[in-house]
Subunit: 392 residues, 2 copies
């Protein structure tokens, strides 16, 4: 973990390993070396997803585990890396004689989607939801394509995984939220990933002089937007478990003494239950319509993203719960608030996740931190769960 954290860490604690950069390749080469040491067979697919395959020689299922080693800009040392390093340790243990069937450790490409969209690109490609030609032509803000970077870095391989599809997938990750820490649990048994909807709401009014325009003559886009934002922020009080965030606000012309003609803001709303999430969307749309009628501004709403909630496979969830229980770690069932590769894998095989506490719920930051004890506990529960799945 410590060696990996040194890669792409130019100055202080923050890690800069954006996908398809030199630092990203360096980290993957490091992971490849670790995997080779376990005796695993290495395969790299045409997008650069990295696999380490351990055949036990005993009949049994194909179990895959891993995560990603790319980071956001100025990210932390645990997000993604923990799941990859723990999978390498599992490969080492299985290589030494444990388990039945086949184990595959994986380091997926570009989970973060910072420089090149979409996120979870490696698992989307692995599960057949993205084509290689399509992915190679995706460009960053500077106009460089993924294909160009793959060629420049010598990053991609030519190996296929078509002969070896996983029967189960399991991923260890830091929580990125404060629940485990707050409730004093060591292990999160992740039962699913909450669904997400993104909206862009545009309030359009009339730009005018802040000094000369009487209040009753105004169509003030910021006034309409702030009232609507305040109303929307009350939705989680009324709908249990709904998380709602207005993260981005843009006013125009955005001048101190000019009534804004436009105010655009985003809404991120999440819930584990698809019906509650659809209900939340209906409430949001109703509030938009009411705000339009009340404010005198034109208010429009546009859907930007819609990710269905994911429910993880009962067998994987139970394997994790039993393992944590048998190891004596205080565990709780929980939903993942964030998106992970495991939710993509769940579309092709029974999948699940294990969380460990992250201090203060901080992630995507140099301040991201989990204790050594929790890291070890997570790796042990991961190995135990993998073996439980391999051994049926």
């Amino acid at each position: 973990m410590k060696d990996l954290a040194g890669i792409g860490s130019p100055k202080d604690g923050g890690i800069w390993r954006l996908a398809f950069t030199d630092a990203d390749l360096e980290a993957r080469t490091f992971v490849e070396g670790c995997l080779r040491e376990t005796g695993a067979e290495i395969r790299i697919d045409p997008l650069g997803n990295l696999f380490g395959i351990v055949e036990t020689g005993r009949p049994g299922p194909v179990v895959m585990s891993g995560s990603h080693t790319d980071t956001v800009a100025d990210g932390g040392r645990f997000d993604g890396s923990l799941g990859v390093m723990a999978a390498i340790e599992a490969a080492d243990a299985i290589s030494s004689g444990k388990g039945c069937g086949t184990f595959i450790a994986v380091d997926f490409v570009n989970e973060e989607g910072v420089r090149f969209m979409p996120d979870m690109m490696g698992s989307l490609f692995f599960t057949g939801r993205l084509e290689i030609g399509e992915v190679r032509s995706i460009r960053d803000a500077a106009g460089t394509s993924i294909g160009e970077e793959l060629n420049r870095l010598g990053y991609a391989g030519t190996d296929s995984m078509s002969d070896l599809r996983p029967d189960f997938f399991i991923e260890l990750h830091i929580e990125q939220g404060p629940i485990l820490e707050t409730t004093d649990h060591t292990i999160g048994v992740v039962t699913g990933v909450q669904g997400l909807k993104w909206f862009e709401i545009t309030c359009s009014g009339t730009s005018n002089h802040a000094g000369t325009t009487p209040m009753q003559n105004r169509r003030d886009a910021v006034r309409a937007a702030s009232r609507l934002m305040d109303h929307l922020h009350q939705l989680p009080d009324e709908m249990d478990g709904v998380r709602l965030t207005v993260g981005s606000v843009h006013a125009r012309p955005n001048l101190i003494n000019v009534i804004a003609e436009r105010c655009v803001f985003t809404v991120d709303v999440r819930h584990p239950n698809p019906e509650v999430l659809s209900d939340a969307e209906r409430h949001i749309r109703a509030r938009v319509r009411a705000a339009e009628a009340e404010s005198g501004c034109d208010i429009s709403i546009r859907a930007l993203a819609d990710a269905e909630p994911v429910e993880f496979d009962r067998r994987v969830v139970e394997a994790v719960a039993r393992t944590a229980d048998e190891s004596g770690f205080p565990a709780r069932r929980m939903i993942s608030g964030a998106g992970h590769d495991a939710q993509i894998l769940n579309s092709v095989c029974p999948s699940g996740m294990i969380f460990i506490p992250s201090r203060g719920g901080i992630s995507h930051s140099p301040d991201e931190f989990s204790t050594d004890d929790d890291l070890v506990a997570g790796a042990n529960v991961l190995l135990g769960s993998i073996l439980a799945l391999m051994d049926g």
Copy 2:
């Protein structure tokens, strides 16, 4: 008016005559030519304020009138220009034998303050509230100083006005608001300029993941800011005549799926009565404190500007009211919502203003419009008022 509107009008209807640019100088040279035709003596001071002096040869006071010919970016053809062109017409009439004492038409420099701050710079310099050295060293965003532009353009003169101080000042301007149009009046008898206070309010919370952070664990700067903005917008409902505008909003990091750690917005609040304005400030500060206690975010408030309300001189106000009445124009007494050179002049001599209707209250825009009839009415009431003041 039409010839002047052609200067700094590169493509469509919008006028670009930012102070201390080639287009600004071209407009002033045009004004200087018009003034020379009236037989006025031309003086240009070291900042470029342009004066046309008409001595009647008969004993009487010194009456000054005018406005400015600089515009905002993509501005209208009437703001400022009307007051200058009407003063030239008055100079012409007085030159032809009307009035007693001395008349001075003036075209003040940089009233808008778009490229170089502060606004109303020419009148501030003329009234001794800015020093020439200080003003010449003011720089625009690109680092060019006013002194450099004055030298490059050959814009400034060397004339002094110290021997000729006005006893009265009067300015004709478009209303820049909808009141005259809405109430069907041709002439606004301006009794004063409302006071103004500007604040910057900073809400500081904690940046975090929009998906993983439970609602009760959040310190969401946008949530705190939107609620506070909504509360502040209700102030004008409770305090008669208060105008309050949140024109500018900035969130950070301003990403759709990240809880904002900071949200900074501005408040522009205005009222003609200094006590009401101070009361409004107390209310704003109390609401900020309440919002801080309620939201869990740190919320700070910083004063950015504080302009006292101005009450115009009774003699000038009465001269305008009487003239409008005698001319048969429907007139109403009103407060100016915007700032003008006349409020600066009021600190050194009795001053006043005349408004004419502006369609829809639109100003600082290519859509700014006043009818020919109203322009002529305004110019006539200006001349009548000037003569009333000159003739005592």
